[in-house]
Amino acid sequence: MMKSPRLPLYLTMATFFLAYLLCIWEFPSMFSTRVVANLLTDNAFLGITAVGMTFVILTGGIDLSVGSVIAFTGVFIAVILRDTSIHPLVAFGLVLTITIAFGAAEGAIVHYLEMPAFIVTLAGMFLMRGLAYVLSTDSVPVTHEFYDVLQSIYWKAPGGGRFRLIGGVMLLVFIAAMVVLHRTKFGKNVYALGGGVQTAQLMGVPIARTTILIYATSGGLAGLAGIVYSLYTSAGYSLSTVGVELDAIAAVVIGGTLLSGGTGFVAGTFFGILIMGLIQTYIVFDGTLSSWWTKIVIGILLFTFIMLQKVLAWATTARRKPATEFAMRS
């Protein structure tokens, strides 16, 4: 029984490696450190967002505001660096404080006003996108020597792949998230909350604190993703990263986390991100396929993984079925 929750994770990992092998078989040049390094760099902001989303989804909630938070962060940093002379690190600290407070406020509304997370974070999505518009409707370039320093940090692997700073940040976030989820009390509380609010409450899990912390984490990680995105593009634009929340949710689901909460792993999300990145890389390598195939393939993958989870759930409950039937008859 213990191995069933990990099975989706292993399947996601197997899917990724199998897909990568197939890609290499068709385009041998895809087997290079360049491709791997770009996979990490290009999906860094999405990966960091998806970690926050994994936390939220594990508790059975959802956070639709992350895409807007990323856009807001980018615009905020760009505007503040343009109009004032403060150091980017201070700006980073400031914007992280704002996004964490914003996430915490969302969590507080979800908990204390007993409103569905879906609607609360939807309003948050409009609010953050709107604030980004208010700051600037144009794309604001970032020209600061500190940005050049950060962007020039990379480790050149044999084969020419450049592992940049932002890819490293994403890996660090994933490792930190795994430690938090599996080695701290907070992590246990997250899983407990996802298993059922009432059960968790009876076990003595602090519901209010955990819920607020979860959304603050998601907001803060979206802020960090915004910083990474601003390093990636060297600009802040209020219309950027529209729909990133959906990509993040898709990555989490492909990674084997149940949207009803309680079951899932951050590592699965990591491979979910890699699979989605791989599809895009494949389309670039192929050259004849149009970009909309990305959406269709991701949709098919989502469907496959959902069905897989259904089959697994059915297979694990089938053994218990006679008992329930007996209980219902009596």
Partner: protein, 356 residues
């Protein structure tokens, strides 16, 4: 019966009146309606006309949400339907085959969602996420990535024309809303849908064929979304697979929630959802008419939504209820019974009705 309905939609009517009053304050000519070139012009007509897609989506979405479900794919279905209609007329077909093909596409999308939810027992939010992600890709596949423009007058009439001076989209959403309301309220269907939303297992044990009803509900939503997609495409004389119906699903869900329907399923009111759609459109109109910089649109909309949701949140409603109940000397047993009903969330509509 009539007074029950009125009491149910009273909060929405009050909010709508307040928003329309705001419209009147920022723009005194808001209520003036002119008749020129065989059609009515005026801000009220505009609100009714522009609100058509969200109102259409909200009609179907109300039923889905009443079964404790949600349909995230309606925006993508709109894009697909628009693309199908445009490709039929550009291939030389008339507007009737185009409309029928679009509606068939909507029904096909609806049945896909419905089968996933009802037969395979996938959570509605996940099941419809698949089509939400893939649907826009499918629509782009149909239009081959271009914005497909058309000049068929019959199809354009559905979005930009008038019947008896009133814009066609207004007719479409009012007729669709009345039709669905009539069907679910004149038969037992509405009650059965509510039963599924409150507790699906017990409704099944009570003999309700929940599978067929669930599929039917998603079919209706797909149908409504396809209509909305055709209206939007006809309005701009082209099918834009990327932007048609973008984020419309969120507006539709918002309309249903502003309409006081619980996302946890159960009792529903289509009229209230339609009022919710009108409230959203009136808010848009206030922001436009007040001449505020367009950058502020989303912020103001978000703040208004937060205020409306705050007023309707179960906690605040409960606090108001307790405040009201504590003033006159009541029979304590009855009060406690009502309080526990409110707490269990199964029936927060009753409390809301006893409030007003």
């Amino acid at each position: 019966m009539m007074s029950d309905t009125l009491r149910r939609i009273a909060p929405q009517l009050v909010i709508l009146a307040v928003v329309i009053l705001l419209n009147f304050i920022v723009f005194p000519g808001f209520f003036s309606i002119e008749f020129q070139n065989g059609r009515l012009f005026g801000n009220i007509i505009d609100v009714l006309n522009r609100g058509a897609p969200v109102a259409l989506l909200a009609t179907g979405m109300t039923l889905v949400i009443a079964t404790k479900g949600i349909d995230l794919s309606v925006g993508a279905v709109m894009a697909i339907a628009g693309a199908v209609a445009a490709s039929v007329v550009t291939a030389g077909g008339g507007w009737v085959p185009a409309l029928l093909a679009a509606l068939a596409a909507g029904l096909a999308c609806g049945s896909w969602n419905g089968i996933l939810v009802a037969i395979f027992r996938v959570q509605p939010i996940v099941a419809t996420l698949v089509l939400m992600v893939a649907g826009r890709g499918i629509a782009q596949l149909i239009t081959e990535g271009k914005i497909m423009t058309f000049i068929n007058p019959g199809l354009i009439h559905l979005g930009a024309g008038t019947i008896l001076g009133v814009p066609t989209p207004v007719w479409i959403w009012i007729i669709m809303g009345c039709l669905v309301t009539y069907v679910v309220r004149r038969t037992a269907l509405g009650m059965l849908i509510e039963a599924i939303g409150i507790n699906e297992t017990s409704s099944r044990l009570a003999g309700i064929n929940s599978r067929v009803l669930l599929v039917a509900v998603y079919l209706v939503t797909g149908f409504c979304a396809a209509l909305a997609g055709v209206v939007v495409a006809a309005d701009i004389k082209g099918a834009d697979a990327n932007n048609a119906g973008l984020w419309m699903e969120l507006d539709a869900i918002l309309a249903v929630v502003i309409g006081g329907n619980s996302l946890l399923g159960g009792r529903f009111s289509i009229v209230a959802s339609l009022l919710g759609a009108l409230i959203i459109q009136s808010v848009n109109s206030v922001i436009l008419l007040s001449g505020m910089p367009p950058e502020f649109n989303l912020v103001i909309k978000a703040l208004l939504i937060i205020v409306i949701l705050f007023i309707q949140s179960p906690t605040v409603q409960h606090a108001i209820y307790l405040f009201r109940a504590s003033t006159p000397p009541h029979a304590p047993t009855e009060e406690r019974a009502e309080k526990s009903a409110e707490k269990s969330h199964k029936n927060n509509q009753t409390a809301r009705e006893s409030l007003s």
